[in-house]
Subunit: 469 residues, 2 copies
Amino acid sequence: MKYNPITKDILEELVEILGAKNVIVDEEKMENYSHDETSEEYAHMPEVVITPKSADQISKVMKLANKHLVPVTPRGAGSGLSGGAIPVFGGILLSIEKMNRVLEVDYDNMMIVVEPGLVTNEINGIVDEKGLFYAGYPMSLLTCYIGGNIAENAGGGKAIKYGVTGRYVMGLEVVTPTGEIVEMGGKNIKDVTGYDLKRLMIGSEGTLGVITKAIIKLSPKPKFATDLLVLFNDAESAIRMVPKIISEGRIVPTSIEFMDKLSVHTTCDYLNEHLPYQKAGSMLLIEVDGTVEENVNLDAETIGELCLENNAIEVYVADNYTTQERVWSVRRNIAEAFMVYSPEQSLEDIVVPIANIAKLMPEIEKISKKYDIKMPSYGHAGDGNLHTTLVKNPNTTIEEWHEIEEKALQELYNIVYELGGKLSGEHGIGLKRKKYMKDYVSEAEIMLMKKIKKAFDPNNIMNPGKIID
Amino acid sequence: MKYNPITKDILEELVEILGAKNVIVDEEKMENYSHDETSEEYAHMPEVVITPKSADQISKVMKLANKHLVPVTPRGAGSGLSGGAIPVFGGILLSIEKMNRVLEVDYDNMMIVVEPGLVTNEINGIVDEKGLFYAGYPMSLLTCYIGGNIAENAGGGKAIKYGVTGRYVMGLEVVTPTGEIVEMGGKNIKDVTGYDLKRLMIGSEGTLGVITKAIIKLSPKPKFATDLLVLFNDAESAIRMVPKIISEGRIVPTSIEFMDKLSVHTTCDYLNEHLPYQKAGSMLLIEVDGTVEENVNLDAETIGELCLENNAIEVYVADNYTTQERVWSVRRNIAEAFMVYSPEQSLEDIVVPIANIAKLMPEIEKISKKYDIKMPSYGHAGDGNLHTTLVKNPNTTIEEWHEIEEKALQELYNIVYELGGKLSGEHGIGLKRKKYMKDYVSEAEIMLMKKIKKAFDPNNIMNPGKIID
């Protein structure tokens, strides 16, 4: 695919559509838009950054881009972890940062209508007074945008009970790659009026259109929560608890987070935190929530007992905010803690059927030994979704590391697929994992994806170079 | 679109692929496959009925059908309510009735792998012993097939708490219109590895492929349930309770079913049932369920009190199986009861934002008076999804009725769309509602649907004549 450069004429047309202050060509200002939270090696400069304020403006931009064959890359908060918002072919970087209004709070339907550039957690700030909350829970909810969450179908730490972003998106307004403004879905709880275009948009990583408005479902906010920190001798015993809690305990917890020995030790050292971790070969962090305090306590008790009957060494209860924060802070600081060891990392997002995490763990250890790298594993055990991270050994050179990273990743993915897993549970394919698609996703499936892409975006100008080629 | 007839040669090829006993051309035997549960006026005979037993056979059939340009219409149990399985262009009727095996019960992952021809409720029969259940709940679950549920994204009476079919479909095996066998999704709770093809298949009414296998998620079965029968003076008071229960009560009930005065009276008379209905202008049937009995009782109590504070005349509690069955049997027999009055009916499936049902009710009454027909409304108030039914006045002729039906429906849909609603909440567009798509769905949206259809089915042979032309 050959794209045309952004000419002076195109810039003038952009200024006409958007106004001069929404068209940025200053190199220094554009630098921030050249990368997301993935490694710097994926960075690429745009030719121009635009900050539109309406679907109408975006529609005009898309028509212009089609006419001149220039690529358009939509971008949220830049908190992505797969390079999805990186303008690999230059062209126009379309930042939704100025489209951050709350358009309607509809308590009668328990929905909120927002623009895509709203910081996700702001929804909670608004609806909290009515005892409601947004049940999507990406770990970066204090900084990420709801539009980015939808484009990536973001997951997070509460998906086992509440599901991921897509469950709460009732309606979308989308500008298609050819510039049409399309409403999909609405405020209806059920809707089977034709193909589910909205669901196709969710998780399509900005390759099928720009989300310009979203109708989000709210849920009654649970009044009480309790966390259990459960210590096990080994990873397998911890992992085996996940289906037991749900089927034997008949409880769907809010979270079941897993941390292996390496993650816990390194992070506790980093935080100077003295959790009772010395004995632990692995840990589960289990949260239950609900509206009735006794019921939440009963659930926590049932789970604690079940764990103790099944090889847990110890169960600690965190039923107040301070202790809960201490425990969760360990979970949240794992990536940070390993940065001290080496900033050269590859944060993965593998997912396997929950029952297979136990089989995955020893294989990860083998790879780690073979290549002499650290590979902490932690994350959403309740969803089979682990953020196994490859961390460079400080004794190797950057060149050696890149070679090791590639080989180790391939071996990791091989095992994940043998176990029925997938490349990405919540971060997306984007730029970073695109090259692995052909090895792990069937040709027939890729062919259907390509046909859909072509149907929506005949000139391949919308976020090109992502997911598939 | 011109299709070719089924020739002797094609029949021979079908026999070669499927074996003689899986290729039916007997007119009498084929009659049963010419209609579903919609009115007889939509019926159409197939040229041949086939009963394949594997994805492989279906793949060969699709390749054959493409070569000869003959239409293929997939069919589940024939319990559809929109004519989706009717072979309007003749050709091959592909019945999945012989693909009804349970392929795997995976308790460790709490999933079951089934063929599409399995009767939905059989899943519950199998997994009940482990305290699990399938949380999809179409009202016809004792007779419908899981494959049909997926193709229609079937809803039902428990969607307010548990969501609809799509939430529980983890993976699909699909034979595409061009004969490729494609696996979509898998046993992973989270998965953002490329476009969500599985979600696009769900609810596509058999127009994008034949489902040949499904991985279904199981849930812990609630141990206790209580039903409340709540009487109101008018429909508006009843409807206004729905958001109140969820936001003020912070309870998401299992069901909130609504029955208007006409539905309750006619059905109670039909069943010779003496529910305390005389005073009621409308009724809500509210179910709550859970694992802890006291909690279920507390929820029921909270809801009951909230209703009494908000204009309910009376609240009856049905906390045992016999009383629950009595109450639900009224709800289930409404359609049947009106059959006595007239078998000429149009069962609709409109959906509006829940807060707008109250505005919809008086409009329905106006249409009913204007055309002198009965229009009982009942259904899933918790989802804004009402089965408003147009019932012919026995004093009019069939010709007059068809004219009235068309006009009244158009007026009904006009109001539904003015209120932000949609043509179908759970029954699908199929054949019956296709003609209304162009009036109510935007051109841009229809264009995207057409492009997707074309991408999957270039020769338009897979269930043609449904959803869009």
